[in-house]
């Protein structure tokens, strides 16, 4: 099967081909490895290609599937890990000079689950330094580029994960999200990405940026592939203090295409000012499509974005600074300028600020939950415009316009970013769907129905052959 045929299959469909013997995990893996080698030189999505490990995983999967041993939906499926996620025996740099020689002795819990589930590790993915500093050109590795237009930003910090999935280098990549770092690359790269409920997925073995804002989640071409991946990743981990001991439902069951009666609250206020007209038109059209499919849409409001920004920025600054303070003092030159400055903002935060922020956080969370008394999902912007040119990205210590994804890191509600069209310039448009705590299933239900009713998933970026 050719790679351009593979890219149109869901993970579940690829899984069926693997189990039937029509496709071999080794051939599948080799196909993706070749594609990465052919096209990634101009996209820089992969910071370390783990070819030997990939083929070893693939051969194991091949022999196990051949004798009828089935490890689950990820068996034989290639994936990438954001390079802040520990991979046993494989360099994990966080894209930083500080960790160029770091080789973890243990897999992160999410890496362990994917490996135990029979997945095939293709590589470690480009990220912003420590998931905060980027896009930066003063790091050991170049920033990732957007496959839709390589002069444009991928979004971050899970930049390589977003770019690689969009480019068809792998059907799945993991990212992390502290203020939008899964949803922003998903939005700019035109794919699906979910920040699950806080505590849904273990953070053990993932370099922390902000203990109470960090989330781990999947990026994939389609919503249903995100659902399948989350099925493997989700679950209680006693070694993660923030892990939630909540049953993991079957995420596939509700993905029928039927969303009749689903109540959606459309939140316009986050994109009322300053949003690109094409992005707004794309979101409005997506809402209309959801109504056509039977959803009931009403307008909702939340407290101001400035308040969410104050809370999220205070907590992020304080927690990130507390993690990195010693190195920021003693080895500042080892950080890229943007990481140093953004983390350095933590030294301006007082104890009073942090406690106030945590208290206001409860107030904001209650406000979101009050809206959820009447709706199943809140729909809003994930970004205000299509991806900008990479050199135009505001790389400053304090952003005047915060990402519209950040409020749901502060509150911990699950949030899914999905593609809702393309601009005149051919760049993806996106929509964010936010759910009740631990109700990722309803987000998947809505996202799946929308994707089935539109043809956005049939369009792929054209890549430049850079193989030497």
């Amino acid at each position: 099967m050719k790679n351009n045929e593979l890219e149109n299959l869901t993970i579940a469909e690829v899984g069926r081909e693997l189990r039937s013997g029509h496709l071999s995990p080794v051939e599948l893996t080799q196909s993706y490895l070749e594609r990465i080698k052919r096209y990634d030189a101009s996209l820089h999505s992969v910071v370390l290609l783990t070819e030997e490990r990939a083929l070893e995983d693939a051969r194991r999967a091949e022999s196990e599937l051949a004798r009828g041993q089935d490890r689950g939906p990820m068996h034989g499926i290639p994936y990438g890990l954001k390079d802040i996620i520990n991979s046993k025996g494989i360099r994990t740099t966080c894209q930083s000079r500080l960790l160029l020689d770091n080789v973890p002795g243990q897999d992160a819990e999410v890496a362990r689950r994917l490996h135990e589930g029979g997945g095939v590790l293709l590589g470690k993915m480009t990220t912003h330094e420590f998931a905060i500093g980027g896009p930066s050109f003063d790091l050991p590795f170049p920033p990732a580029r957007n496959p839709w237009n390589k002069d444009h930003f991928t979004g971050g910090s899970s930049s390589g994960s977003g770019a690689a999935v969009a480019a068809g280098f792998m059907p799945l990549a993991l990212g992390t999200d502290t203020g939008g770092s899964i949803r922003l690359p998903a939005a700019y790269c035109g794919i699906a990405g979910i920040k699950p409920t806080y505590g849904r997925v273990s953070r053990r073995g993932v370099a922390p940026l902000s203990f109470s804002l960090d989330h781990i989640g999947p990026l994939a071409w389609r919503v249903e592939d995100c659902a399948l991946a989350l099925q493997v990743l989700a679950g209680y981990d006693a070694s993660d203090p923030g892990s939630a001991d909540q049953e993991v439902p079957n995420y596939q069951v509700q993905m029928t295409g039927d969303i009749r009666g689903l109540k959606i609250g459309y939140l316009r206020q986050f994109h009322d000012e300053g949003a690109d007209p094409e992005m707004v038109a794309g979101m409005d059209a997506a809402i209309e499509k959801l109504v056509e499919l039977g959803a009931e849409v009403s307008e909702v409001t939340l407290p101001s974005m400035r308040l969410f920004q104050a809370v999220q920025q205070t907590i992020l600054s304080a927690e990130a600074f507390s993690i990195h303070a010693q190195h920021l003092r003693e080895r500042p030159e080892q950080y890229c300028r943007n990481s140093f400055e953004r983390m350095g903002m933590g030294c301006f935060v007082t104890g009073e600020d942090v406690i106030n922020a945590q208290r206001v956080r409860r107030q904001l969370t209650a406000a979101v939950d009050a809206v959820f008394k009447d709706v199943d999902i809140i729909a809003c912007a994930s970004v205000l415009a299509p991806a900008s040119r990479i050199e135009d990205v505001e790389v400053v210590p304090f952003r005047s316009q915060p990402p519209v994804t950040a409020p749901f890191n502060a509150t911990g509600h699950p949030a899914l970013s999905l593609c809702c069209g393309y601009s005149q310039a051919g760049l993806p448009l996106s929509l964010q769907l936010v759910g009740h705590y631990f109700d990722e299933a309803t987000l998947f239900r809505a996202g799946y129905a929308y994707e089935q009713a539109t043809d956005w998933r049939l369009r792929r970026p054209k890549l430049e052959n850079t193989e030497i």
Binding site: V311, T314, P332, F340, C347, F348, I355, P397
Partner: protein, 73 residues
């Protein structure tokens, strides 16, 4: 909180000195402006909050401490 430029500059320098952070040459102005903007944002958080909004969830005895005690026995 004092918001005149002189006071803000003193606070800025004091915070950096307290934490032992040195701003590389040429970036002081950018960082100072970021500090000013950040403080302005923080000032927008309400200061009078209901007592029920205490951040008690930061630490919850019985969730993890029991496991620690069990391991120590």
């Amino acid at each position: 909180m004092l918001t005149d430029t002189v006071s803000l500059e003193k606070e800025f320098e004091a915070c950096l000195a307290r934490h032992g952070i040195s701003i590389p040459g040429g970036r002081r102005e950018v960082m100072f402006q970021a500090f000013v903007d950040f403080r302005a944002l923080l000032a927008e958080m309400p200061s009078e909050l209901e007592s029920t909004l205490e951040p008690a969830y930061i630490f919850a005895p019985g969730r993890h401490s029991n496991e620690v005690f069990r391991n120590e026995k």
